[in-house]
Subunit: 415 residues, 2 copies
């Protein structure tokens, strides 16, 4: 069973808005085991709409269409659908009543444009719109299903949730697909791919693997297709168990978790507090941690010690250490970590000192050189990294690396 | 001149990621006068890729392809391109050297997967990848241009900015369009649109205005189309002069400037330093300021005082002030600002204290309530804001508002 999403609207093609509708719909259809074979975004142009529907019907069994159902002149999806299905617009009493109810609730008057919205193609089944005036429409032709919905996200989402998804489930026997994303940090993609190539080659035939890299983590997505969701979940769990034997310490979570959430949960679980002392990350670590709601339960705060004077005056770093080893050194980053634990009286600390770039590099310490320390009251672990030459990504990578080092410290895990 | 964007990658079709690449590319091509006729997202499937390229070539003159160029097994775009262009993969010395440089800079070892990335279709022109190992590729066939780029956003963006856009401009005669974006902060969109409606109605016929709102600012983009770029620039400047007469104090910059860059330049110009004391913004202001290269010249650092204890112990906020007025109050935010000036000995300070949400609100101080103070050694300005109920947007709005208040303080500008 395959589906295609056709998004209609100039605002997508001029790059004014992100196509969040198609992402959401793709996610929902995958959850009921329907593959999306293509997502097509086109403008409000009748002949292009008709062509796109023809092409989609050669690929897919279900075609979900959004957009172009508004009351203004540029909205021509209904006319295109009439031409495609060789039918005409007819007045629909139920749709009219819904528009009337909607308009009166807002103390507005019914105008001709609203009235025209009650005209729908003769051959469709209506899908009610709880949050707007444009009706949804369900068509069937040559064993294919076409669903036309408004482009306004919450109107489309409510139609999908309330009607369309169960109509699709009833109409088609859908296979089951289970996805599980394994979140890793600290292992370069190509090295990991080589390390895991035996495991990947021996995955069950109905299972596939995708590598999804980003500066902050590397996600591995396993997808498995079949008929029994319990069995499929077990199959995936078996493969994850094998994976864990090879790279357990690099796995920090699954699916939509973030490192800052994982660390936050560990701190709450252990009833511990955290503070950070940041130089090269410039507050990014504090910002990540505090992006989690209720982080005030475990995060005391941070000192962003961008100048050396602040490192010595506020964090109590020894001036001699800076003079002898430089600010980007094991000595200084460790003193920053103990300094913040002492001054904030936290259970754990993160400290960073590095050359984010693009300026500030030397032959001995090129741009990207970064020292990171994590500490508890009785232990400090410091490591040196050589990231790249892009300031923003260096900060992102240093922050993710630091959070993952803290996770391992809390869990007493070694690489 | 029409273009089509073809995004390749299962992660888009299963709804795991938003297709931000195609939005960005659509925006950039529109800016040089090229319309996007379709955006097509497909999976890593060879025959589907070839079919999509065929269909795109019937619609568009320029086909921009992203994704599927990684070193792992699911990446098959290069093979599909070879079949489409009836050519074969050949080893490319320059691409190999770039991969080598990239790998050695990261202290990693070259493996077979990396080496395979140096093989490219024989008939393409290479577009260098400054930030990764996958080369970009430029093809020409039957007067159509095809460009294949990595799906990693920053790799694609740098290729487009550094090479692809100017190659397209050279290859095709694109009309002259001049854009100028005026950056404002602190004026609500609907109110500004009303205030500026006379000005907008009287813009020259060849000029158009777009409002581009975001939580951190409101951008007004003027676009003018014609034949003489000098004349067009003058036309735009004339309109901007009229605009300044109405909303000068809200304009903080133009085009790609950011508030943190503007503030940084002002501090360098006046040879002054800055420190921040952040509660609800959680380090976001420090992170914004330090995202600017060489910000260490003026930014001393920040104290993220997430817990009240840190506010009193490190920032010297009076315990009585917190008990009497609450942490989110004029009294406390002013004491935070003077506290950080005293302890860091900076010339200027920013302080924030608010309820970012979703929890923590009360009837008297609902979620979104935020006090912001900016200070010099002899002046403090504090203001109260009521932002919305979304944590992330509240932090973004508070940070932008604080930076703009500081800009006005440095410039002695009043609203």
């Amino acid at each position: 069973m395959k589906a295609e999403i056709v998004s209609i609207g100039d605002e997508i093609l001029i790059g004014q808005i992100l196509n969040t509708n198609s992402k959401w719909m793709a996610e929902q259809l995958n959850l009921i085991g329907i593959n999306i074979c293509q997502i097509t975004s086109i403008s409000d142009n009748k002949s292009h709409i008709i062509k796109a529907l023809c092409e989609a019907s050669n690929r897919a069994d279900i075609i979900l269409i959004t957009g172009g159902l508004g009351p203004t002149k540029d909205d021509i999806t209904k006319n295109a659908l009439c031409e495609y299905f060789d039918t005409k617009l007819v007045f629909n009493q139920n749709v009219y009543r819904n528009i009337e109810r909607f308009i009166s609730k807002r103390d507005m008057d019914m105008n001709n444009l609203n009235k025209e919205q009650a005209e729908v193609p003769e051959n469709c089944k209506i899908i009610p719109n709880k949050y707007g005036t444009a009706a949804g429409m369900w068509f069937e032709k040559n064993n294919k299903v076409y669903v036309s919905m408004p482009g306004v996200p919450f109107e489309m989402i409510s139609m999908m949730n309330d009607d369309v998804i169960s109509l699709i489930k009833n109409k088609f026997k859908t296979p089951i697909i289970i996805h599980k994303t394994i979140l890793t940090q600290g292992y370069p993609e190509s090295e990991l791919a080589e390390k895991l190539s035996d495991w990947e080659d021996n995955l069950p035939q109905n299972m596939s693997l995708a590598y999804l890299p980003s500066p902050k983590n590397l996600r591995l997505r396993l997808s498995v297709k079949g008929e029994n969701s319990e069995l499929l979940t077990k199959e995936i769990d078996t493969e994850i168990d094998k994976l864990k034997k090879q790279i357990n310490s690099y796995i920090f979570g699954y699916d939509k978790e973030t490192l800052q959430e994982v660390v936050g949960k560990l701190l709450i679980l252990n009833n511990k507090t955290l503070a950070s002392a940041e130089s090269c990350t410039g507050g990014n670590i504090a910002q990540l941690i505090t992006s989690v709601s209720e982080s005030s339960k475990y995060f005391l705060g941070s000192v962003v010690a961008y100048s050396n004077k602040i490192k010595t005056s506020i964090l109590n770093v020894n001036n001699n250490s800076i003079e002898k080893h430089g600010a980007v050194s094991k000595q200084v980053v460790c003193e920053m970590a103990s300094g913040i634990i002492n001054s904030f009286n936290s259970d754990y600390a993160i400290a960073t000192s590095g050359i984010a770039g693009p300026s500030g590099g030397t032959e001995e310490k090129p741009v990207g050189t970064t020292w990171i320390a994590v500490a508890s009251k009785d232990k400090i672990i410091a490591k040196k990294f050589l990231f790249g030459d892009n300031r923003e990504r260096n900060i992102t990578r240093a922050s993710a690396t630091a959070l993952n080092m803290l996770r391992k410290l809390i869990l007493h895990v070694n690489d």
